[in-house]
Symmetry: C2
Subunit: 125 residues, 2 copies
DNA sequence: CAGTATCCGACCGGATACTG
DNA sequence: CAGTATCCGGTCGGATACTG
């Protein structure tokens, strides 16, 4: 094989975008609800801190996977929704999910139990 | 939406397995060659250190995506190949790649230029 | 309600040197 | 050739307190 045939940078980009401890979960909830408010999201995701939730929401928004909508007034009212790009990604994520369930089911079960002690992220932004 | 409907742990597992700065590239090269030797891999991946290459190879092997084969004798001769699981993953990775090229092409181009200064990983193992 | 502002510790990628 | 052994620094996730 010749050197440097690797040009699959898109894969790296996609994985980078998806990297963040809570991003898949955030994406899941946002894509399954027409309008998800910040506090609601914060309530249903166990143990996440507001700062981290904000961080990951900002990244997802910056990458164009979700949309942020702010209604003026007080108290503030912000809701998030899935974008076109984000929506286009979901079948791919389902495929990944499916692959894991078929090929590494032990790890999935194990993961379900730990659930919460898991750490992970990706650097680079 | 009711709470805790999120059960897509497989997605988390899959992303965790794929997380590592060089893993997609390693996977690419290994899956496109019948037998890839350690030093060869080290040569064609720019700038990776042996320690990091070993780390990521060990993780990929532990997760069952690649196989390690060691021939006895001296000097040592080790080669890596893609496994069944790893092979089953490649269409999904192509889909991810495709998504990125269609939906975040700017970032992909940008990434191609930086190429090398990029950092990322995922914790939790 | 939906954020900021700080501070902190863990972990991962990287550099360098050494070895069976 | 294919690894180990150390050490280091940056980054991200997390905790806590404060604010428009």
């Amino acid at each position: 094989m010749k050197n440097n045939e690797y040009k699959h940078c898109g894969l790296n980009v996609a994985l980078t975008i998806l990297s963040g401890k809570w991003k898949p979960m955030i994406l899941y909830y946002i894509s399954h609800t027409p309008e998800m408010r910040f506090t609601e999201l914060w309530r249903i995701i166990p143990k996440i801190t507001k700062k981290v939730l904000l961080d990951q929401l900002k990244q997802l928004e910056a990458d164009g996977l979700i949309l942020r909508q702010e209604k003026s007034g007080f108290p503030p009212e912000v809701s998030y929704q899935i974008s076109e790009k984000g929506h286009a990604l979901s079948p791919v994520l389902s495929a990944l999910e499916e692959w894991a369930n078929v090929h590494v089911s032990e790890k999935v079960e194990q993961f379900e139990q730990e659930s919460g002690t898991r750490r992970w992220r990706r650097n680079g932004r």
